[in-house]
């Protein structure tokens, strides 16, 4: 099945990021990088999404929300963590208000290190995500 190839809708979830990674995600949409040519689209609701792009370390207030948004996304779905903060805390490492990196709250499939990562890295992560989705799809069948 190649249903997800070149038709991936992405939802951007900010869990307490400093806005650096968010700007890089927006840069991916600009004419210079233009991910829409690969069929990747930023959507406004997790219900429409195939991939959750999570930026930032998860602050305590966000924990139930992150779980809920993960539940709201229809299967099959993937989670991509963008930025060092979501991977191990980054500059906020061991801060008093953190509930830990993203993969302690919800399952994560692809990690994009960097503070912030380059737009090319984010595009590559999303491409890896769709390869993984297709493999999962083949495993089911």
């Amino acid at each position: 099945m190649k249903a997800f190839k070149r038709a991936l809708w992405v939802y951007h979830l900010n869990t307490g990021s400093c806005n650096g990674c968010d700007i890089e995600i927006l840069a991916v949409l600009t004419p210079r990088y233009d991910v829409e040519r690969f069929g990747i689209m930023l959507v406004g609701s997790p219900r429409h999404a195939d991939v959750l792009l999570v930026t930032g370390p998860v602050v305590k207030q966000m924990v139930p929300r992150v779980k809920r948004i993960y539940e709201q996304t229809p299967d099959p779905k993937l989670v991509v963590v963008v930025g060092s903060c979501g991977i191990e805390g980054g500059v906020f490492y061991e801060s008093y208000s953190l509930a830990g990196p993203v993969d302690q709250i919800i399952p994560v499939d692809v990690y994009v290190p960097g503070c912030p990562p380059r737009p090319e890295a984010i595009i590559e992560a999303v491409v890896k995500a769709w390869v993984k989705l297709e493999k999962a799809e083949q495993g089911v069948r």
Binding site: M1, A3, F4, K5, R6, A7, L8, W9, P31, D34, E36, R37, F38, G39, V43, G44, S45, R47, H48, D50, Q72, P74, D75, P76, E137
Partner: protein, 329 residues
Amino acid sequence: MNVIVIIATFICVVGLSTIFSLLYRGVDRKLVAHMQGRVGPPVVQPFRDVRKLLMKENIIPDGAISWLFTAAPFICLITSALLLFYIPLFGQEALLGGYGDAILVIYLLILPSLALVLAGFASSSPYATVGAQREMVIMMSYELPLAITVVSLAWRIGRVADNPFMFSTIAESPIWSLVGPLGTIGSLILLFALLVVTTGEAGKVPFDIAEAETEIAGGLLVEYSGRNLCLFYLADIIKTFALASLVVALFIPYNLSPLVGIGAPVLAGIVDGLFFLVKAFAVMLISISVIRTAVARFKISQASWVYIIAMTLISLFGLILLSVDLMVS
């Protein structure tokens, strides 16, 4: 004609229109991307999106009224497809052209929007509720200029022919062949009003306030996923195609085959069909792609003002020009 042939024709028309409307959406996205200096997705992108959406899980939220939540996408798609039977497509007469006219089409145009409103209220999300309210406001706003445009066109044609609301009558005596210079300006103004109404009716920028992705997260469709979202996606695309065909049927109902002198029915049908696609594409290019690139989203009050005040006055002015033209000549 037996029943099977009739049903086969219906399926054929809906299938062909769906394929072409999906292609048009792809071309629209590509063109808009080029206008913005991007490369843009390939033309077949809408097909990929539809295929992907069908693979996804279909979630019905706990708080939603589940039967209405499930029924609304079907109502929306079916009523949008119903439009295709009453509007002349591909240079041919409308399939049910003998049973319905422009007035019926105006009524039918309300139904997909009503289904969207139902969907919004049934999904019990505050975003969807706000979207549904906005959809209702914009729906009530564009009705008046749309009605004025269609009625004044039919009024002028009714001076020379019977049954002026029938699409076949409009095709036999196009407005441009009836009017003098003043009337031509009036008709152009009416055409402009109808093109702007088309943008709002199709729910595209700058009138996509009900679905505003960036402010109310998809609005009406915020809770929809998988198959249901796919049905809305298709309904939106088909409705856009039907709207473009409506503009073509009202204002440019010309066929190419009599002009170039092709007599053979099959060849003439193909030529007319292709010419229809060009005309519909021109309408979509102006009222959807170019406007979408050129302007930003209105506030709901501004959008309502554009229709209720500005477009109504403009179309009334067109009507006045038409009647002055009638008095002068």
